[in-house]
């Protein structure tokens, strides 16, 4: 099958500019798996090549991804009733919710650019646990701005060689997820032992 979503978005970005990037980031923010990081890196390379302009790309990209994240936050928010019914009696759920309310900001910020595979689950958790939307928005804006500037900047810096930098970022993302899983294992192991 000769179908590649990235190809369509890349051709679209060449033809129609930042609007297509914004569309991809909006859809990605809503939880539909699209290569958002790839698009941001390529946007940086396109800015260097003079294909698109910096200011509208950054403004539209940031606006779109924040709207997308807000939509997935809202999905979590509207699923709150269901989550309450399902886990409301569970003590661990209340403890996790309290922890998220206290320290969720850093999770929201880091999952925007460092542990991106966990971004959508974090949005859904934030919405479903009643994390205040204003705080979510502030951390989300900061994290997404970091993501756009960092990866867009890498695309700009590496110019025509952006594919290699994208490969490294994808692999680093998997590596970071692995490290997070190992830290999680350590955390649960310690808790298990402290109970005993």
């Amino acid at each position: 099958m000769d179908f590649n979503v990235s190809d369509y978005f890349l051709t679209g970005m060449v033809n129609y500019g930042a609007g297509i990037l914004a569309l991809a980031l909006l859809i990605g923010g809503m939880g539909i798996p699209l290569p958002g990081t790839l698009m941001v890196i390529v946007a940086g390379a396109f800015i260097r090549q003079g294909i698109i302009d910096l200011a509208p790309t950054l403004a539209l990209g940031l606006m779109a991804v924040v709207i997308g994240d807000s939509i997935s936050y809202a999905m979590g928010h509207y699923a709150k009733g269901w989550v309450e019914r399902k886990f409301g009696d569970n003590e661990n759920f209340h403890s996790a919710r309290a922890t998220f309310k206290k320290r969720g900001g850093i999770a929201i910020y880091l999952t925007r650019f460092l542990i991106t595979p966990l971004a959508i689950p974090t949005n859904l958790i934030a919405g479903s646990t009643g994390y205040p939307y204003r705080r979510f928005l502030a951390y989300d804006l900061a994290g997404e701005a970091t993501w756009l500037l960092l990866f867009g900047g890498l695309g700009y810096a590496f110019g025509s060689q952006w594919e290699v930098i994208y490969q490294l970022i994808s692999e680093s993302s998997g590596l970071i997820l692995g490290v997070v899983a190992l830290l999680g294992a350590l955390y649960f192991w310690q808790r298990q032992n402290s109970v005993i």
Binding site: A157, S160, E163, L186, W189
Partner: protein, 111 residues
């Protein structure tokens, strides 16, 4: 329950860390060698359009269309992927080769 979760996370963590860690190191070694090539022209990809190649290689797009035997009319927004379907019987290699040749043969003095 917590012990089981810790073991599952440990397994997943080890697999991801070893697999992606190895690949990341390999890619990093490649990156160290490409720093000097950042300003090199882009490699041909099927998502590229003729106006994009014209801009990135600094070659007139009309020349490119003519060199690859594709009419310029209505094709500015079409990718190489689309053009090969309509003008190269679906042969991606053939259109990439034609564009590559056209770029290599371009001589601004001749035009």
């Amino acid at each position: 329950m917590k012990k089981a979760l810790a073991i599952i996370l440990l397994g997943i963590g080890l697999i991801l860390t070893v697999y992606y860690g190895g690949r990341a190191v390999k890619t990093y070694l490649i990156i160290r060698t490409i720093e000097a090539n950042i300003e090199e022209p882009v490699k041909l990809k099927r998502w590229m359009t003729i106006p994009y190649l014209s801009k990135t290689h600094n070659i007139p797009k009309d020349y490119l269309y003519q060199a690859i035997n594709v009419p310029a009319k209505d094709n500015d927004k079409r990718s190489l992927r689309y053009l090969r379907k309509n003008y190269y019987d679906g042969d991606l290699e053939a259109i990439l080769l034609a564009v590559q040749r056209a770029i290599a043969d371009y001589d601004p003095g001749k035009l």
